[in-house]
């Protein structure tokens, strides 16, 4: 059963097109991430799903029902906001009860629900406090509790972790994921943080300029980004984009890489799919961890410009084809700045992009 379907939704303010034809389908129980840089329209899309804004054209279906003309309160949704949006003059208990009260849930039942939610989120001791007396993480928890109390068909999270400090953000991320495993409710989650997108989502919709650039599972998006934007947006440190000539040498199609004086020709596997690009310039996308150190003497001799040890890995900076390239290496393989490393890309995972359209080739 489809929990949420968005069909050709557009949104326009005067001449400004915020959303230019969005299509999304989410199955029941799935965790959908809307991710993109600020101004990409993800929050507008979220507001349209919630019913706080109406689309200029297109349809929104929740649980196989068109909800375009249904008020937010009747859409059977609950929403968690970036600023938590707790009612400042009410204590936690009243905050959770407010929505139940408006819906005419009997007092006894309200209390049962509050007790259940408080237990689930371990916030029994906070129930009588006002939002002003809570820390950021606790407010976040209360906001989630308020959403949970309603037991809706669809949860909407609008950048819920953006106001938390780094450590708490990771903790709450895990908690949200556990919650989703336990409740199996469909979740739509807006974020600009690609790590949140990768770790939480079953499906990710990467958005830019009001268009969905790619819609798929986190792994699909990571391994086979649809275009240069998605490739650069997902992954940290981000993918290296190396401009190169696609050439045919001795029957194999490959690219030539050059670093300082050194140069080498790297053949691509299964290369016939690139045949029509031979002789043209392409952009070679290699993720930092797709570099290996070739101790057998192969690979490209690169001079190390800078290193950034992160603990488990060391990021090595070098120049290839005139572009700064980052390689994520095991600390054992890294060398100090100034020395030379034999770097070899894992060509099985490399992706190529058209220079003009910026779309992935092959």
């Amino acid at each position: 059963m489809g929990a949420l379907a968005i069909k050709n939704v557009t949104k326009r303010f005067g001449d400004t097109h915020i959303l230019k034809g969005i299509d999304i389908h989410v199955d029941s129980g799935e965790f959908l991430i809307l991710v993109g840089p600020s101004g990409c329209g993800k929050s507008t899309l979220m507001n349209i799903i919630a019913g706080l804004e109406s689309p200029t054209s297109g349809e929104v279906h929740i649980a196989d029902r068109v909800v375009n003309d249904v008020a937010p309160k009747d859409r059977d949704i609950a929403m968690v906001f970036q600023s938590y949006a707790l009612y400042p003059t009410m204590n936690v208990r009243q905050n959770i009860a407010f929505g139940l009260e408006t819906r005419g849930v009997p007092k006894r039942e309200q209390e049962e629900i509050i007790a259940r939610v408080a237990k689930m989120l371990q916030m029994d001791h906070l129930l009588d406090r006002k939002p002003g007396q809570l820390s950021g993480g606790q407010r976040q928890r209360v906001a989630m509790g308020r959403a949970l109390a309603r037991n809706p068909k669809l949860f909407l999270f609008d950048e819920p972790l953006s106001n938390l400090d780094a450590k708490l953000r990771v903790e709450m991320r895990t908690e949200i994921k556990q919650l989703h495993h336990r409740l199996k409710t469909t979740i739509v989650y807006v974020t600009h943080d690609q790590i949140e997108a990768m770790t939480l989502g079953d499906k990710i919709a990467v958005m830019k300029d009001g268009i969905i650039q790619q819609f798929g599972s986190p792994q699909q998006i990571y391994d086979a980004p649809a275009n240069l934007f998605v490739a650069g947006f997902i992954g940290s440190p981000s993918m290296n984009f190396i401009p190169a000539h696609l050439a045919s040498e001795g029957g194999a199609i490959g690219v030539s890489l050059q670093s300082g004086e050194a140069a080498c020709f790297v053949p691509l596997p299964d290369s016939q799919r690139f045949a029509r690009y031979v002789g043209k310039r392409v952009i070679v996308g290699i993720r930092p961890e797709q570099w290996d150190v070739a101790n057998d003497g192969g690979g490209l001799d690169c001079k190390v410009d800078l290193t950034e040890p992160t603990g488990p890995d060391t990021i090595v900076f070098t120049q290839i084809n005139g572009i700064e390239v980052q390689a994520r290496l095991h600390p054992r393989d890294a060398r100090a700045p100034g020395s030379v490393l034999h770097l070899r890309p894992d060509m099985g995972k490399v992706v190529l992009f058209d220079t003009e359209t910026e779309i992935r080739i092959g």
Partner: protein
């Protein structure tokens, strides 16, 4: 860490300069505010008539004050005026603020229009409303000229109603100011709180009543303070609009005091009434200041 010893004159300046700078204003306030309050207090225990004298009569002026019918009319009027003016200005101001907060067009222009009456002095407000409410000149005459001969609106000249005309003019003057205060408060409310409440199923009136207005408590109290002291010391509006009349039916304590002290040669009585007003204002302001100061020390 090394401690450098400062030149001696620098320490002297640092010690005395702030005091020297503050001294003139301190002296002025001391003499012209607290000094004159004390003088007025002293006069209220004397038999001063047209000019101050120092013939002590104890509490006789206060006894005369409390026995005066006119004083009680003024106090009663202050009660009516205070309650209706504060309540009315508050309600009208809040309603205007809420309506203006609905992201409407021309908000800036409308806000200015509503705030403009505050730029007028109460004298101008009183005079203008005096013309409008004057049965021979204003609204009543207009309606009669239009042919509604039965129309009657004579509150300005009706001793039982004259105080209400002051209320009307006062509300007209001050509700824009209340609106501005509340509008600023409403702007401080996070938009997503309203969205959350909408998703929670609350109607707009309910959102305002249950969530937004309760969050306006500090604004509410500041406004109450400001309006309360405007009400208690109201003088110019009454003088311009009704002159305390007809008779003394629309007297307020401030006009009573003025009449007694400066036109009827009852300076001792006027001083006593002024002391009563001081006590009333203090009763309103001191608890407020106390709670505000205590709060700022805790935060």
């Amino acid at each position: 860490m090394s401690v450098t010893s400062r030149p001696a004159h620098y320490g002297f300046a640092e010690h005395w300069l702030p005091r020297l700078v503050l001294a003139p204003s301190f002296l002025l306030v001391l003499v012209f505010l607290y000094g004159f309050i004390a003088w007025n207090g002293a006069l209220s225990f004397t038999a001063s008539r047209l000019l101050p004298n120092y013939e002590w009569v104890g509490l006789a002026q206060y006894e005369a004050l409390f026995a005066s019918e006119r004083w009680w009319v003024a106090v009663h009027n202050l009660f009516i005026f205070g309650v209706l003016f504060i309540g009315g200005a508050m309600v009208v101001g809040i309603v205007l603020a809420i309506l203006l907060d609905q992201k409407i067009r021309l908000e800036g222009a409308l806000r200015t229009i509503y705030l403009y009456p505050l730029a007028l002095s109460f004298i101008v407000t009183g005079t203008a409303w005096g013309w409008m409410l004057n049965p021979g000149l204003g609204l009543e005459k207009l309606m009669h000229d239009w042919g509604y001969a039965g129309f009657s609106f004579d509150w300005l000249v009706n001793p039982d109603r004259s105080i209400y005309t002051i209320v009307i003019a006062g509300i007209w003057q001050s509700s824009g100011f209340v609106m501005a205060l509340f509008l600023a408060g409403l702007r401080g409310i996070d938009d997503s709180i309203i969205k959350a409440a909408q998703i929670d199923g609350a109607s707009l009136p309910r959102i305002y009543w249950r969530i937004i207005l309760p969050a306006m408590r500090p604004v509410f109290f500041s406004t109450l303070m400001i309006l309360a002291h405007i009400a208690i010391k109201s003088f110019d509006l009454v003088m311009a609009l009704t002159g305390g009349g007809p008779g003394f039916s629309s007297d307020l304590p401030a006009t009573f005091m003025y009449q007694m002290a400066f036109t009827r040669g009852q300076m001792g009585l006027g001083a006593a009434s002024a002391m009563m007003m001081l006590v009333t204002v203090s009763a309103v302001v001191v608890p407020y200041l106390y709670s505000e100061l205590r709060r700022s020390r805790h935060v």
